[in-house]
Symmetry: C2
Subunit: 232 residues, 2 copies
């Protein structure tokens, strides 16, 4: 049985890209937005890109209700508001995958710079804001949204996954590894989001300079990145 | 004519690794240390690894005197002291390549965490400390020292090079790109060292988890990463 997936912010570039890529693997996806009209519009676009896509359009609060894993794909300036709105809807046992990046662009600064977040990172801020029992995993920060949203583009990069429970990271990796060309790497505890979120700004800088949609790969890793938990 | 290279801290793992890799390409290298005996010992080891290595053993102050490009490969806790000692020896027009990483290990913390540096990064601290006219480039942070120092190990990874002048970065890249298996990527202005230095801690975490000496690659880049300056 697969985990049921919801995307909060599925009308944004990253959320939409994730939705179509997952839909293309045959996975049902709840596409959430603040407005039902915009959710429906995004789901329609997804179904146009993936004719047999099982995408349902829902408002964010409803999207998370039936999900096991909730991807939070919103701009940093909306992260707090979104988490506040979801407080009464998220429930114990769910995994919230935070992809938020505190780019300085949120306050009119450069997208090649980041803001300092009191908790250390946007993901750690999310961990502070979710209801008790909801666990946060960070992922997808370095994956470029335009490329993700264009099924004609072949992906060939890593997703750095961080979180405090390996079992949670494994479940998130099981979802994202379905997408051809993405490979999930265990990048450590949630606190590593401090660095990984900043890598987005670095990639924006590199991509702008070289006029590409590049990604990150960790080289020299073993074949099996998510070995089964030892039974001992 | 190649730039003449000196390594400050060539007795350390990273400095020594860089010395043998450059020596193996036929490049003369001034290997600097605080003590002439330790410099000689390191140069001897380099000549054992690369029989025709043109490695000279010098104290740090003498090493930098005849160099065009000085690699600073010292632990963070020694960075300030080294730069203070070099103040009267570095001169205008030289490039200082800072490879320092402010790992929390410098103060007994974890190597998977970093210290906050007032200037933003160790490289920016170096830029504040060098004499006027000496320009700082950041590089080599994510390249693992043990692998670099072992010529039997094939390298296959990127070097993220940051600095405020493209011409400086190009000169540094011309040196490091001589080493088979390393590829220099222009990672932006010196301020990007904030992120790149932290990627060392991230790589230490990933390497420990997977028991490897991994590296970083940026995928999706064009073939020519250092196009000649446009003449217009």
């Amino acid at each position: 049985m697969s985990d049921r997936v919801a995307i909060v912010g599925a009308t944004g570039a990253l959320g939409f890209g994730l939705a179509v890529r997952l839909a293309a693997t045959g996975m049902p996806v709840a596409m959430g937005s603040r407005s039902p009209e915009r959710a429906e519009e995004a789901a329609g676009k997804a179904r146009a890109a993936v004719p047999d896509a099982e995408c349902t359009a829902v408002v964010n609060q409803d999207a998370v209700r039936d999900a096991d894993i909730v991807f939070l794909c919103v701009p940093f300036r909306n992260q707090s508001e979104n988490l506040t709105n979801l407080k009464d809807h998220l429930r114990e046992g769910q995994i919230l995958v935070d992809a938020t990046v505190p780019l300085a662009a949120a306050v009119g600064g450069r997208a090649t710079r980041t803001l300092g977040v009191w908790q250390g990172s946007a993901a750690q801020q999310a961990a502070e804001m979710v209801p008790e029992g909801v666990r946060v995993v960070g992922a997808l920060h370095t994956v470029g949204a335009p490329k993700l949203g264009d099924l004609a583009e072949a992906l060939d990069e890593d997703v750095l996954v961080c979180g405090d429970k390996r079992a949670d990271k494994r479940r998130v990796a099981a979802i994202l590894d379905r997408i051809p060309g993405l490979r999930c790497v265990d990048a450590g505890r949630l606190e590593q989001a401090r660095t990984i979120e900043q890598m987005t700004a670095l990639m924006i800088s590199i991509n702008a300079r070289y006029k590409v949609h590049g990604g990150v790969r960790i080289v020299g890793l073993p074949k099996e990145l998510w070995p089964p938990p030892s039974s001992s």
